[in-house]
């Protein structure tokens, strides 16, 4: 029952706030690239070692906060040959709210939701068995510091829960760079 109350509380608050702020929708956008250090905390490391990954996303202003779409890639190496290597591509949308800090820096927090796609490297598997996808959700936080013109350095941390039968729980620490720009009119028209 508590889950239910929280959900509707969030819906009411976000709904009423969102309905009041339409001012800068899609005015500014950014592209970002990041290097990802990932760790898993629900036993996956018994079977696979996680290698470092990378990701990129596009972000733009929304009714409240910013919205983004992105992809993160990670590789997994089996600790034994019977566990096939696999790679994951996490395709997500996210919403983030930010507060401004000194030195034009900012701190943001939000939530990501997307599809966690896994491709297993084993030629004996059928195409149906080789590919798997599952829902993934998690909160994240990001610190951003402008360094040169439109470029900023970003450091972020995120939790990802992948809803497999035995869930996979990742913590990703990322560092990267972003480039911000005024959204061109043609792109604004696509968003509107």
């Amino acid at each position: 029952m508590n889950k239910l109350k929280i959900l509707f509380l969030i819906l009411f608050i976000s709904g009423s706030v969102l309905s009041q702020s339409n001012k800068n929708i899609f005015n500014k956008s950014l592209f970002a690239l990041s290097y990802i250090n990932s760790s898993e905390h629900n036993g996956l490391d018994t079977y696979w070692n996680i290698e470092n990954g990378f990701g990129g996303y596009f972000q733009t202003q929304f009714y409240l906060g910013d919205i983004s779409v992105g992809i993160s890639h990670t590789s997994f190496k089996g600790v034994k040959t019977k566990y096939p290597d696999f790679s994951s591509n996490y395709i997500y949308v996210s919403w983030i709210g930010e507060i401004n800090l000194p030195l034009n820096s900012s701190l943001g927090a939000g939530i990501k939701v997307g599809s966690y796609l896994m491709t297993f490297e084993d030629d004996t598997l059928s195409s149906f068995q080789k590919n798997e996808s599952e829902l993934a959700v998690g909160p994240y936080a990001i610190f951003s510091l402008p360094v040169f013109s439109r470029f900023s350095i970003n450091i972020s941390g995120e939790f990802i829960t992948v809803f497999t039968k035995r869930s996979m729980k990742f913590f990703n620490l990322s560092a990267g760079i972003s480039y911000s720009f005024t959204t061109p009119n043609w792109l604004r028209r696509v968003f509107e």
Binding site: L7, F76, F163
Partner: protein
């Protein structure tokens, strides 16, 4: 009994009246295109989940057994499905797969659902009619594309390669459709094609499927063409529909699925001639040809069903300031072939409907139809009274009496069983239903609307199928012997409260609660009625931030249901399955956004975000949290 009810109908029509507006009729539901979009409907069959007063049950997630407004059991489904007023025969028996109709939701302008027995498009419908009204294309050339994918959580992921492996769960289908339209001042032509795939890998049904087929996917290809034109002082509509589906259809008689290949063909022409300002002549001619046989991957013994239906209907309509009157005649000829057993029968329906506007605040509607079928005469009648008590409150009072011939689950994989059952019938196979409804509607202001309603049902002289399923652990199959029981009866009632409130231009929400119970009846009828929940509660909230972005959430609760036909399941399946479906609640969430000046529409849908493992049938698939993404692309009037 039946004569006294008819007399009651006629007397009531003289003393009661009703209001000219029918929007307070709780038995009618209008679902608009924007309702479909905002509530995350993806498959056509998801529409059942928007009908609060319909009970539904599903084994595979896309074919449903339904009980519209407590007007039937889950046996012998006889819901009528229409496309632009043309009756579309899905050839279904125990479970209705609405996805077989050659449309996707982006083609639908409005869905009209009627859940009280009355004449609808020339048919007296005892238990529910769904009319899909398609969008009228704009002038010039237009096209649109629809694509959706879905998934259910709980897959094994990489753990499938370890000792912690678990079974894969259903992928929730892949749906792709394309629609090309062209239109002018007085005509339009629409062509449509869709393809759909579903994986039936849920543990609850996987073993049954794998024991009868080497392929566990279901597939569908459907196409349609609509030509609409104005001519001869009227409007005319030609519809061609074709659907081919490889599926696993559940048959109650044998207690498990069959690997089926189904082909539906529909040719129909309907229209209106406006003879004078007051008189219209409507017509409908249809030919359908439906075939059902083993799919190519089947390892099951051969079966075959081929049904052809020819239908023609003419109806005259007269209207003036106070009266709206209809007279119609329908003739149907059906041919059914089951392997080497053939049968043919005719049905003639004569009907009339009178809508009388006594004053601005009172009107009444009386329907009457008589059907001649298999040597029997069936009588049906409805009276609906509307009364606008004040400018913001109104009352609806309705009665109906309807008769149906008991229709056996006519398709059996073993035609000899069908013959045996036919021989075992009693001469009196007419089922009778008396229904009544009372609803009061009050609008406190433009933003708050309240409805309270009560219904009463009296089923009598019913013939029911009695099943006692036995679970066979080998292949997880369920088997049954069954009997036909006659003279079954039941009295049941229900009460409903509905509230609709617009908090602001942006936020609107709705509350629905219903309670239903039976209070007298034969043993079997009362046992089967327990498969409907006593309590149902639905709360939905809709945020429309602007015409480009919206959020919708729904909370649904239903109380426990008991399926007596599966009473042995608990111990025979070693508690893997149960004859009881516990009370459950779910929350669904839908987020929608238009892009590119309303050319692209994206919808992200989450169903059961609390991730409660849900069952909708004792031996059906269990569902966890599911998520879908649907994509629509629209180009209107690109060449005028």
């Amino acid at each position: 009994m039946k004569y006294s009810i008819l007399i009651l109908l006629i007397i009531s029509s003289l003393v009661f009246s009703q209001n000219t507006e029918t929007n307070n009729d709780i038995s009618k539901t209008i679902i608009t295109s924007s309702d479909l979009k905002s509530s995350g409907v993806i498959n056509i069959s998801d529409i059942f989940t928007l009908l609060n007063n319909w009970n539904n049950s599903t084994i595979n997630g896309y074919s449903f057994a339904v009980s519209p407004n407590n007007l039937s059991l889950y046996q012998n489904q006889n819901v009528i499905v229409l496309i632009d007023g043309q009756q579309f025969d899905l050839g279904e028996h125990d479970f209705i797969n609405l996805n077989l109709i050659p449309l996707t939701i982006d083609q639908i302008d409005t869905v009209e659902v009627n859940s009280f027995p009355q004449i609808n498009n020339g048919v007296y419908v005892q238990s529910g009619v769904i009319n899909f009204i398609t969008k009228k294309p704009t002038k010039g050339l237009s096209f649109n594309l629809f694509n959706s994918v879905g998934n259910e959580v709980g897959d094994p992921g990489p753990y499938v390669f370890t000792q912690e492996r678990s079974p894969n769960v259903d992928k929730l289908g892949y749906l792709l459709s394309f629609n090309l339209n062209t239109g002018g001042e007085n005509w339009y032509l629409r062509s449509f094609i869709k393809t759909e795939e579903n994986y039936l890998t849920d543990p609850a049904i996987k073993d049954r499927i794998n024991s009868i087929s080497t392929d566990s996917k279901s597939r569908m290809l459907a196409a349609s063409a609509i030509l609409n034109f104005n001519a001869l002082s009227g409007n005319h509509n030609f519809l061609f529909g074709y659907t081919e589906s490889d599926d696993f259809i559940f048959y109650r008689q044998i207690g498990h699925e069959l690997p089926t290949n189904k082909i539906l063909k529909h040719f129909g022409l309907n229209g209106t001639f406006n003879l004078t300002q007051n008189i219209d002549l409507n017509y409908f001619i249809k030919k359908s040809d439906n075939e059902l046989k083993n799919r190519s991957s089947s390892t099951y013994s051969e079966f075959y069903e081929h049904s052809k239906l020819f239908l023609t209907r003419f109806e005259g309509k007269y209207k003036n300031k106070n009266i709206f009157m209809t007279f119609g005649l329908t003739y149907e000829n059906s041919e059914i072939a089951l392997l080497d057993v053939n049968s043919e029968f005719d049905r003639i329906i004569l009907y009339t409907s009178l809508n009388y506007f006594l004053s601005q605040n009172f009107n009444y509607l009386i329907d009457f139809s008589t059907t001649k079928q298999s040597g029997e005469t069936l009588l049906n009648g409805t009276l609906k009274n509307f009364w606008n008590i004040t400018s913001n409150s109104s009352l609806l009072f309705a009665f109906s009496y309807s008769q149906n011939l008991f229709v056996y689950n006519i398709f059996s994989p073993f035609p000899e069983n069908f013959a045996d059952i036919t021989n075992s019938t009693t001469s009196d196979t007419k089922s009778n239903l008396f229904s009544s409804a009372l609803s009061y509607n009050h609008s406190f202001n433009n933003n708050l609307k309240f409805t309270i309603a009560g219904d009463y049902r009296h089923f009598f002289d019913y013939a029911l199928e009695e099943y006692n399923y036995q679970f066979n652990p080998i292949g997880g199959s369920i088997e049954s012997n069954y009997n036909i029981k006659t003279n079954e009866y039941l009295k049941a009632g229900s009460g409903t409260i509905e509230l609709e409130h617009a908090i602001s231009e942006v936020v609107k929400h709705k509350f629905y609660y219903s309670y239903q119970a039976d209070f007298e009846g034969s043993f079997l009828f009362r046992e089967l009625w327990k498969s409907f929940p006593n309590h149902k509660l639905v709360y939905s909230i809709n945020f429309n931030f602007n015409d480009s972005f919206g959020l919708w959430a729904k909370y649904y609760f239903q109380s426990e249901t008991i399926w007596s036909e599966y009473q042995y399941l608990d111990f025979q399946s070693d508690k893997e399955s149960s004859s009881k479906i516990k009370a459950y609640s779910t929350i669904d969430l839908s987020i929608q956004k238009w892009f590119w000046q309303k050319r692209i529409w994206l919808n992200l849908v989450f169903k059961d975000i609390l991730n409660n493992h849900q069952y909708f049938h004792p031996i059906g698939a269990g569902f966890d949290m599911r998520f879908y993404l649907q994509f629509h692309l629209y180009f209107h009037s690109i060449l005028i």
